[in-house]
Symmetry: C2
Subunit: 254 residues, 2 copies
């Protein structure tokens, strides 16, 4: 039972006694990080419900079920909670995506699949965190705000780089890589707005469909898939579309 | 000059004298709606910057450049402004999409192209309105909240219905229509987060690429796919190819 819901059972322990010294060692560190996660989750829900500005540390302590004094063992300010949210939602993600981008064992398609799968699952797991994180950007104190913005740029550039790699190899259509990256991000991020775990959606199926959609919108047509130079391919596609147009339009005088 | 910037010149007139009776007739109605639009825009920016809760009618009056008494000719409460935002951002859109869905002269692909084009352009034109509208959902008083939720469901169901129609006709892949609809909505809605008018992005090219991406992620494999079915579709494909070509060719003098 305890093994099944460690976060919950640890939070209960924390209510009884907050860690006081070095006697508990490694176990205390693990417990501390679980309680901190619980605090962060409760705080995020409050920020989402009441707004960041109007939420107090007292509200957060009450939601976690500890006294305000006990809460101070874990966080000392709302700003610190925001900083943790940024760290979790963008900095850590940006690092993971950068590492994925650099992997040499994956094709651009393989990388795109992994990237989108990871994004969809993270948004589905922490929808409130993602939305609050997005809404509170303007409340972030420095240097958190710069760190957050840099992480956002890093996520975008990892995704754009994978798309550009696919275009260069003739595997992806010659799309605008930034617009394509934003489209994929939008598709994945939006999961935080609509996904609810439950019988309606199976997260594995959702992640699979969205990843496949991202690949399908990039994939070069079979005709243009050859590593032939892409300008030539684009010109050929334009010409055949114009041919189709000619056939479809009424002839002169008709 | 006045004809070039009616909203601005009318706003100036409003500062001098708010409409007082039925003497101005139709002109007054037009002016009123322009000023109201200006008020709504300014209010939205304030909601985005300061938060809905902390913005006062006095702040809004100051931003518009009128007295609070003059503002009362146009709006009587913040709730009324929120209601207008809902009307503009979701109810009107839901109606337009429902009408588009019912058009018999368009294939599912043609409908999807029109729907996404419309969504992308609206998000690009009113990014703050869309984001504030999304963030303030919980602040909406009844019956606005229900109206807003119904409109959101209507937008989703119009899009899902078009996708289902495409699947039934064998033109689209047999995807989960709701997940596919949310993916398309995410891709379009996200424009409100990243698009800035300016030299970086041409809105026509952006709308074209996103619409084409939505179609490409739905389209059944070539084996089951119908040929370009409308002049508009052929033209859109030709234009996307030309956009790609433009990006691929070295710039002048390079």
């Amino acid at each position: 039972m305890a093994a099944k819901s460690p976060a919950k059972s640890t939070a209960t322990t924390a209510k009884e006694s907050a860690p006081t010294g070095q006697d508990t060692g490694r176990r205390s560190t693990a417990r501390r990080s679980l309680v901190t996660r619980d605090v962060l989750e409760k705080a995020t829900l409050l920020f989402a419900e009441k707004g960041y500005e109007t939420t107090t540390l007292q509200d957060i302590a009450a939601a976690v079920g500890v006294s305000r004094t006990a809460l101070y063992h874990y966080v000392t300010s709302k700003e610190e909670l925001l900083a943790m949210l940024v760290e979790q939602m963008s900095v850590a993600l940006a690092d993971t995506l950068a590492a994925l981008r650099a992997r040499e064992d994956l094709t651009p398609e393989g990388k795109l699949r992994e990237l989108t799968d990871m994004l969809v699952r993270q948004r589905a797991e922490s929808p409130q965190q993602f939305r609050v994180h997005d809404q509170t950007e303007s409340a972030l104190p420095e240097p958190m705000r710069s760190k957050h913005r840099q992480a956002r740029r890093d996520v975008l550039s990892a995704l754009s780089a994978v798309i550009e790699e696919g275009i260069d190899r003739g595997e992806f259509k010659p799309l605008d890589p930034n617009v394509a990256a934003f489209s994929v991000l939008g598709m994945c991020n939006w999961v935080a707005w609509w996904y609810h775990s439950g019988p309606d959606y199976d997260i594995d199926a959702v992640a699979r469909q969205i990843s496949q959609s991202a690949i399908d919108m990039m994939a070069a047509d079979d005709a243009t898939r050859a590593p032939a130079d892409s300008a030539k391919a684009a010109l050929a596609t334009a010409r055949s579309s114009l041919d189709a147009l000619e056939r479809l339009l009424p002839t002169d005088g008709a």
